[in-house]
């Protein structure tokens, strides 16, 4: 069963796979860098909702840049956790996007944004209940059917939790993936932020994630700040990656093996060199892994057999 699923994932991403290397997000601020040259990044990720317009310079830029880099389309607006279901019109727009640009990876979040038809522009938290799990699994199924492919779902960062939750977040994410046949996008910055905000152990989260379901990893900066006079970590994607998150990335890679790692930066974007520098650190983490990592380890075992 697990093997079938894995083959399914591999097959649908075969057209132009996103490599198990470090990538960065393509943002408007850096369009010029990518139109004038060929910055050294193994792959690029875009926010899907920014490229569902009929035409114009954004679409033309992505069309031009796509020729030179593997692509991942990362959704922020599908609202997989909405009790009222998904917006069929938006699914159709996303289908056009993936048909046109043939991304190697397509992902979304374990969160919700839409209620009563209103789109609250944030990744809002779900209670981790059987009810919410059923909603999420049903919506992922609808999305995968509409897109004609497997997606990855990302663990969110959060600031509140709910007493009615009965399932740990990592089990909730893993179970949604098992039931729907999707993969996981493991955001290690989000694990760190949520673990800190809610007082659990990030390693317990990591150890609860079935590594074979993980298709991509995210890293990002967060703000160590205060809200209402009390300390909180806010996932603002507005700075370099904190040391604790680099450590967590090493631990995750050692446990799961090499995966595509995305350096996210969305707020107060720096010059491209800074962003590429963070991605280079992620690549170094992947490179350090190579001699001992599970990926090569299992290959060595195959060779021996």
């Amino acid at each position: 069963m697990a093997l079938e699923r894995e083959n399914g994932l591999a097959e649908s991403f075969a057209r132009d796979p996103v490599p198990a290397a470090a990538g960065i997000g393509l943002r408007h601020t850096h369009y010029g860098d990518f139109l004038d040259g060929r910055p050294a990044t193994a792959w690029l990720e875009v926010h899907s909702e920014n490229y569902v317009c009929p035409g114009g310079p954004r679409m033309a830029t992505l069309e031009a840049v796509r020729q030179h880099y593997p692509l991942s389309c990362h959704g922020v607006g599908l609202s997989l956790g909405s009790a009222e279901g998904l917006d069929a019109g938006h699914l159709a727009r996303l289908r056009s996007l993936v048909d046109r640009f043939e991304p190697g990876l397509v992902s979304e979040h374990v969160s919700w944004s839409t209620t009563g038809g209103d789109y609250l522009n944030d990744l809002l938290p779900l209670p981790y209940t059987e009810e919410a799990l059923d909603v999420l699994v049903g919506n992922i199924g609808q999305a995968q059917d509409a897109l004609g492919r497997t997606i990855l779902i990302e663990n969110p960062s959060s600031y509140v939790t709910f007493a009615e939750s009965t399932i740990p977040e990592w089990e909730f994410c893993a179970e949604a993936a098992r039931r729907s046949g999707c993969g996981l996008l493991l955001d290690v910055n989000n694990i760190h932020v949520s673990a800190h905000n809610h007082g659990y152990d990030a390693l317990e989260f990591l150890n609860g994630i079935p590594g074979e379901l993980v298709g991509e990893i995210h890293i990002a900066g967060h703000a160590d700040t205060e809200w209402d006079g009390r300390p909180v970590l806010i996932d603002d994607h507005g700075s370099t990656v904190k040391d604790a998150v680099w450590d967590l990335l090493d631990t995750a890679l050692a446990r799961i093996g090499p995966k595509p790692v995305l350096m996210e930066w969305d707020l107060d974007l720096p010059p491209l060199d800074i962003l590429l520098g963070e991605a280079a650190k992620a690549q170094a983490a992947l490179d350090r892994l190579a001699p001992h990592g599970p990926g090569l380890g299992s290959r060595a075992m195959d060779d021996a057999a």
């Binding site: 569902v52 009929p54 209620t115 209103d118 522009n121 209940t129 709910f162």
Partner: protein
Amino acid sequence: MLPDLQAAFRAGTIGRDAAAAAALSAGGMQNGHRFGIYRNNIFKSLTGVLEAAFPTIRNLVGGENFAVLAHRFVAAYPPRQPQLYAYGGDFAAFLAGFAPAVGELPFLPDLARVEWAVNEAYFEADAEPLAAGHLAGLAPEGYAGLRLGLHPTVRLVASDWPVWDLWGLEALPEPSQNPRPPEKQGGAQRVLVRRPENKVDVVMLTPGDFAFVGALAGGDTLGAAATAAAGAEAEFDLSACLAGHLSGGTFHSRVIVDTS
């Protein structure tokens, strides 16, 4: 239940209903003092979306005032779609009904219409503009029966205010490369917005020219549009007008000759 929780989140964030947030905490939301982070994220991010779509208005009223306008707009007209390039089409209507803003700056709604036209043109479908040579082979007597389709990015805005002058007060992300006519007149102005390729043009039209393009947009033949233009402006110059639109890319490459 999940639908109730999600409705309460909506009420407590964009609905600005403090009781809804308090009820969530009473119902078992932990660290409820952080609920405001979500409210803040939603209003701040959508304010940013509106600032990008209405940079001139943001510049003219200032950041703090714009944030007040944006927050009220978000509460009254929350996004109904996640593709936020299309969020803000109701901003002009909202401003028209917002007395404190309109009282001091009565041109704001019309300026918002110009900025929204620019935003729409930027993201509209690409198309080949009609090249001047395309009409060259046509016999002069065929011109009157031509139906010139407008380029899909074309938008028209007429205002009692000098919106073309006002719009020029702030540079846009993709500013027009076209030079502007030297004379800057006050009073009513008519604006045509188009994006024949990658750059958005914002062009001031004379009353006759505006009537001409408006008639073509309504499906009139070139002959009927010229008549409408002459009615709106005694000194309307058809050949100069056509030449300007052909070089500027106002027309779509599909041309229909009406033989009736």
